[in-house]
């Protein structure tokens, strides 16, 4: 009896120690990656990163990539936020128990994890190819095409958050409004949206955090540019793509710039996710 007990308790202790070790391992990787990024990134931060363009290589900076990324991220949000919020609203308010609603919700969850490189291919086929054919080659790859690809990555995040946040709005609010004779669209736009506003905004910010670090779909949509452009239909540089190119280069000076860029993106993305966590700590929604 005591032998069995001893074995059980040893198994237990081993398992518990191993689980602690697993957690430690996860944390070690987190600290390792962040530390390396911070160490190399802070060391390489300098003012010229923000004032010079990538055309000068190691003597240059990232200003055109920063501007390109900000423009594309913003355009992507302008595309996916309205569609995503309205689609999420549809799921929560109109189709919460219909079969169509259930299947869209289900497929949206799949889109959340869909390979971003395939979404890039998709946008290449539906935006870049037609644009090239229609304009005779004066518009081909573009910042706009890049932002469409990014929008498809942000979209499911917004749909899901809006859906879940609206479901959190108490039903009594709907009943109270409807009993006053208010039409459904007004109820949705003016009562529910307002009640769930912070939650919906959280979704938009999460989408931004998600798409700001994306590289793969930009390769064949935005293409890259070594000069500054503010024109959405020009080929456009972006931070992740520039980091990708510089990482691939043997020049340590370019590696330093890439690390600085990596640090900026990481800080941006982590700050966003921290912000959303603070903004909405009441209910946890998972975004896997």
């Amino acid at each position: 009896m005591s032998a069995i007990y001893a074995r059980r308790s040893i198994t237990n202790i081993i398992a518990l120690v191993l689980s602690g070790f697993a957690t430690l391992l996860g944390l070690i990787f987190l600290v390792w990656i962040l530390w390396i990024t911070a160490e190399n990134g802070f060391g390489a931060l300098k003012l010229t990163l923000f004032t010079k363009i990538t055309a000068y290589g190691a003597d240059g900076g990232l200003s055109n990539a920063i501007v390109g990324s900000l423009m594309m991220d913003l355009m992507a949000l302008l595309i996916c936020a309205p569609i995503g919020v309205l689609a999420g609203t549809y799921l929560a308010e109109y189709a919460s128990s219909t079969r169509l609603g259930a299947s869209i919700r289900f497929l949206n969850d799949i889109l959340l994890s869909a390979p971003s490189i395939v979404l890039g291919l998709f946008v290449y086929v539906i935006v870049v190819v037609p644009a090239t054919a229609l304009t005779g080659g004066s518009i081909t790859f573009s910042g706009f095409a890049g932002s469409v690809a990014l929008a498809l990555i942000g979209l499911p995040v917004i749909v899901r958050t809006t859906d879940e946040m609206l479901q959190l709005v108490p039903g009594t609010l709907r009943e109270a409004a409807l009993s006053l004779g208010i039409p459904q669209w007004k109820l949705t736009m003016q009562v529910l949206m307002r009640a769930a506003f912070s939650g919906i905004l959280t979704g938009v910010l999460l989408a931004l955090a998600r798409l700001a670090g994306e590289t793969a779909p930009l390769l064949f949509t935005a293409f890259g540019n070594t000069y500054m452009t503010f024109h959405p239909l020009d080929k456009m540089a972006s931070m992740p793509q520039t980091i990708y190119q510089y990482t691939n280069d043997p020049d340590p000076a370019l590696h330093a710039i890439a690390w600085a860029g990596a640090l900026l993106i990481t800080l941006f993305v982590l700050a966003l996710s921290l912000l959303t966590r603070i903004m909405f700590s009441r209910k946890k929604v998972s975004y896997e």
Binding site: N12, L18, G26, I117, L121, L155, V269
Partner: protein, 323 residues
């Protein structure tokens, strides 16, 4: 608001209610269109890649999947090497990430003191927030040299075990299938562990407490009560991680080595579907381009199926929970 201050004239009311009904209808249609947009995106991505890949699929058919002959000079495209690379790296990622994620979930739900749970789980989830290009950089500049240092040891230890030994034979390049698999494992850790942690928390306290009352150890409660209760969701979480690993591009493309040669060793370089597309798409024309788009279609379909299974498994537990 406006309604309460309006004159209660019957005609006016009727007019307004008709207008309201019309607006409601338009609004509803608009919303529905937006929701269908999600559907259209998925369908569009599948159909456009199928259409783009039709040339190679019609020409080679099933042979496209089974041939390892990727030869742009001869215009021959066999996708076996990238498919194998994608599957092998994802499998390595799962083998590593699943036990670790389970450990993390166990630690966070059963062992850690309450004050520690929040910060630690938030920290683990931060791993999911780090952009994949950062994983790629860290992988290439830091983890590859690290692996190059320990690979001779792997050669001498694991490499000598019969049968699986061949998997760990090879020059200490640092990059290759194993390195890519480990980087992927770190990337998908937070996804799997957060699902596990969440579903472990849904196990009714009375179940666990009854077991404890019978004298079970913590490990026995987790292994015999919690895990069976949440089995489908745990599998769902694992598939979710698998779906992520299959489609990842930037984290693996630097550390995989971009070689179309099939090897028996995990220490050797390989390629994956996503990194082949990233590397070659901008230079590909004709059949080559078609082959890459067909690879994209394949990747999309496989991840779709994996994620479908994941969601169905996750839903099973939610159903039982009555959610």
């Amino acid at each position: 608001m406006q309604a309460t201050s309006a004159e209660p004239l019957a005609r006016d009311t009727e007019h307004r209610s008709r207008a309201d009904a019309r607006h409601d209808l338009i609004f509803r249609l608009l919303l529905r269109c937006c929701a269908l947009f999600v559907l259209a995106t998925l369908l569009g991505a599948a159909l456009s890649t199928l259409w783009g890949g039709r040339d190679v699929l019609l020409k080679d058919g099933f042979h496209f999947l089974t041939s390892s002959d990727w030869n742009p000079v001869e215009d021959q495209y066999g996708a076996l090497a990238p498919i194998a690379g994608t599957l092998i790296t994802s499998l390595i990622a799962l083998v590593i990430a699943v036990p670790i994620s389970f450990g993390i979930a166990l630690f966070l739900t059963e062992i850690a003191p309450n004050w520690l749970r929040g910060p630690v789980s938030a920290a683990i989830e931060l791993l999911a927030g780090i952009p994949s290009i950062i994983y790629g950089m860290w992988g290439l500049f830091v983890f590859v040299p690290f692996m190059a240092n320990i690979e001779p040891t792997l050669n001498d230890t694991l490499g000598n075990i019969p049968v699986i030994g061949a998997l760990f034979q090879g020059p200490p390049l640092g990059l290759g299938l194993l390195t890519a698999g480990i980087v992927l494992a770190v990337m998908i850790l937070p996804f799997i562990s957060s699902v596990m942690r969440e579903v472990f928390q849904t196990v009714p306290a009375r179940l666990k407490e009854s077991s404890y009352a019978l004298g079970s150890t913590t490990w026995e409660v987790v292994w015999d009560i919690v895990l069976p209760y949440t089995r489908s969701a745990v599998i769902g979480g694992i598939f979710l991680g698998l779906g992520r690993a299959l489609g990842e591009t930037m984290a693996v493309t630097f550390v995989l080595g971009n070689s179309y040669n099939l090897t028996s060793s995990l220490l050797m370089p390989g390629t994956s579907i996503s990194s082949s597309i990233a590397n070659e798409f901008n230079e590909a024309v004709g059949l080559h381009r078609s082959a890459l788009i067909a690879l994209g279609f394949l990747l999309f379909v496989v991840t779709f199926i994996v994620l479908l299974i994941a969601r169905l498994m996750l839903r099973q537990l939610a159903r039982r929970e009555g959610r």
